[in-house]
Amino acid sequence: MSSAIIPLNALGRQKSAQTGGCSAQGCGSGGGQAADGLAPDIWQRVKDHPCYSDEAHHYFARMHVAVAPACNIQCNYCNRKFDCANESRPGVTSERLSPEQAARKVVAVASRVPQLSVLGVAGPGDALYDARRTFETFDRVAEVLPDLTFCLSTNGLALPDWVDEIAARRIGHVTVTVNMVDPEVGARIYPWIFHGHRRWTGLDAARILHERQMEGLERLAAKGVLVKVNSVMIPGVNDDHLVEVNRWIRERGAFLHNVVPLISDPGHGTRFGLDGQRGPNPAELKGLQDRLDGGVRLMRHCRQCRADAVGLLGEDVSQDVTLDKLPETPVYDPAPRAAYRAVVEREREDRHRAAAAATAGLARSGLPARLVAVCTKGGGRINQHFGHAREFQVYEVDGRGVRMIGHRRADNYCLGGDGDDDRLDDIIAALAGIDTVFAAKIGHCPKRDLAKAGIAVIDSYAHDYVETALADWFQAALPAAFTA
């Protein structure tokens, strides 16, 4: 069973008969499995982290604070000089914060966004280069919000120096970006690194970086930290090579592998962008992810968030909470977060039960898998108007179940009230390979235009859970022979 799949029969979970079968992340507990095929103790640690559990990302929000502007390496896919409020990619942020300012912002957001469960430091440079800023931020926040989950992202170069500090602060989630395990490949991605008071280039740079990344990964995993490895998929440079990367990181205890597509618009001024290096298309990305299935657990719902992202994944409200809009001394009110958590616990159980019941019959079907797109505002429900969707979540449905496998961006078709046709064309292009979309509602004209393009939009499952709706729809399409 693939590790990225929520098996339908496990959605009801309680006491699933399966034991073992957890090889991908080597959880080793051998006990009954919890959600997402995880051991119960691990599930407790990821269930509220929207990046580590695609189940959690329906309910919980994370916040990144940009306290780490400086970096110790140069990547060909990054240009930190670019700073644009419309950007949405790692390394870009419009506000640089001191640790004290960042803590103030977190407290204010926690009072206003009850879904907040995770605080991350993810740049815009490297969180562990000038690590004291990162740690001071966590220390200040921990005084007010001890129950927040802390995480950070790093390129790994400085990681071995800080493993003990990370573990001591109970920073339980660390993301390391690993794009290669072969210095020959690395030399095409990293022009230089700064290490040991000097600049290294070429194979030397890539070799040092690789050794430090692997050492850091191994030691973090040994301390029980859940390590997510991000890999930027660069066609022709490291795409095939990422299969090898997946094997290396599995052997060193990584918990999740997140392959993200290269973003290389020439307008961003990155080396790759200027050189015309292209990113992968959705089919290529999915093709690689399918090849990696069965190795380290895959994350397929990453949104490549800005370094100051705030909110549910795919729904960034960072521009509403810039420093000038926050009170001087925010007072933290824990009530909204506590109330929200209680609701989520109930809602989750209900959703799991409903999904298990609705999809029980699918296992008998031998029909080919279908890819569909869903418009959702969160909660695991089909609850967004087509015209308001900034992105579509992509699900795969077949006899094994209903699984989220990715997302496609479609920057808000409905900006002016009634959408304009160019945007619809963009959406049709973004939906390549998908012929069915589920939305809470859709206007008559776009529905007709999409139908002409061969895409059916279904709004009869408005506000239903994604799993129950898709299972019901898939089931209805089965010939009688399969359902008998």
Partner: protein, 64 residues
């Protein structure tokens, strides 16, 4: 002898400030500047000027 920072290409990332062995670099308003009285070009401390070696934008940390 001292180094200087070209304000027009500086990204204000602060890496140079972090590396300077003499505390010669600081932020002034929105930009980073070198105190030429404190800068030794890293002579005796490191093989090469640290600010230039760590700066992500070539040609931004240069001799005065």
């Amino acid at each position: 002898m001292a180094y200087q920072i070209v304000a027009s290409t500086c990204t204000a990332c602060g890496a140079c400030e972090f590396e300077c062995p003499n505390g010669a670099i600081r932020m002034k308003g929105d930009i980073f500047i070198v105190d030429s009285g404190k800068c030794t070009e890293c002579d005796g401390a490191h093989d090469s000027p640290q600010c230039a070696a760590v700066c992500p934008v070539d040609g931004t940390c240069i001799p005065l």
